[in-house]
Point group: C2
Chain length 149, copies 2
DNA sequence: TTCGGTGCAAAGAGTTTGCATACCG
DNA sequence: CGGTATGCAAACTCTTTGCACCGAA
């Protein structure tokens, strides 16, 4: 563990077949290094600085592929309803985390919450459902923005 | 309280100005009576049975209006990437609730969770942020679907 | 009568797809 | 060399918008 996205992808390619292209490598590197939760467009723009001929559809295709592999999770926040954001799962297994979005500066903060794990188990017990995953997003004003008023 | 959406909308119209049209009335009635969390399209199709000439853009315009009034909340679930769903806030003030989505039958179950309210307060205390709202969505397999396997 | 709301058609934004070509293994 | 992944352009899906007309108050 503690392996990079590229390493993880490469070992999956070895197992399942498929090729490591320069485009893939670039997209994976950016996913690993870009702060926050970039949109496909943002990844594309950043990648274009290194490979002018890269195409947006290649970015999308690879993101979908990575989602299938569980190396990336798609996120939708309330405000940008039309745009997906992508959250690289650096070094799984699943250090589950959740999100706080500041409605003022639009920054997204991640946090972990054992309470949520607990709640999932509890919910499962009381309803008989299997809970596979959870998305918790808090919306509000972050401490910094709060001070500025 | 315990008033219908139409009544709530009417009192807001009286205060803020605006008109209660037949289209509005129909959309509000359907929001109140349709089970689950319909998409704009689903509301439109259901409404079309009563008013053939109703237009999809009217549905969207009214949904956005209702969201502004806090009578409806937009929701996005993981699977249907492109489509918003709409959750009528029957009889506020805010009986906050959260969602469980069965990945098998795609049904959505609502539940309330005081734990989440608690968590919000706790988060606020420890980070200094103001938490205005929270979205919690659990994904998994519901009890019924679980049995069928 | 007034002007807020509607229908219609067209535009927009984000994402996906078909096909010929490139290039990884 | 075989076949997977890419670039490109066009299609698709969902949602929004401009404008002329309609109808609630």
């Amino acid at each position: 563990m503690n392996s990079t996205l590229i390493e993880q992808a490469e070992s999956i390619l070895k197992l399942q077949g498929g090729r490591m292209t320069s485009q893939r490598k670039l997209i994976l590197e950016l996913l690993q290094s870009m702060p926050g939760h970039p949109t496909a467009e943002e990844i594309y723009l950043a990648a274009s600085q290194y490979d002018e001929s890269l195409n947006l559809s290649t970015v999308y295709r690879n993101l979908r592929w990575l989602i299938d592999l569980k190396l990336v999770t798609p996120l939708v926040f309330d405000d940008d309803r039309r745009q997906e954001r992508f959250d690289a799962m650096i070094d799984p297994p699943q250090s589950d985390h959740y999100h706080f979005r500041c409605q003022e500066c639009c920054q997204i903060f991640e946090f972990s919450a054992p309470e949520v794990e607990q709640f999932k188990a509890q919910f499962s017990d009381s309803t008989g459902a299997v809970v596979q995953s959870a998305s918790l997003i808090l919306y509000g004003i972050c401490a910094d923005c709060r001070e500025l008023k």
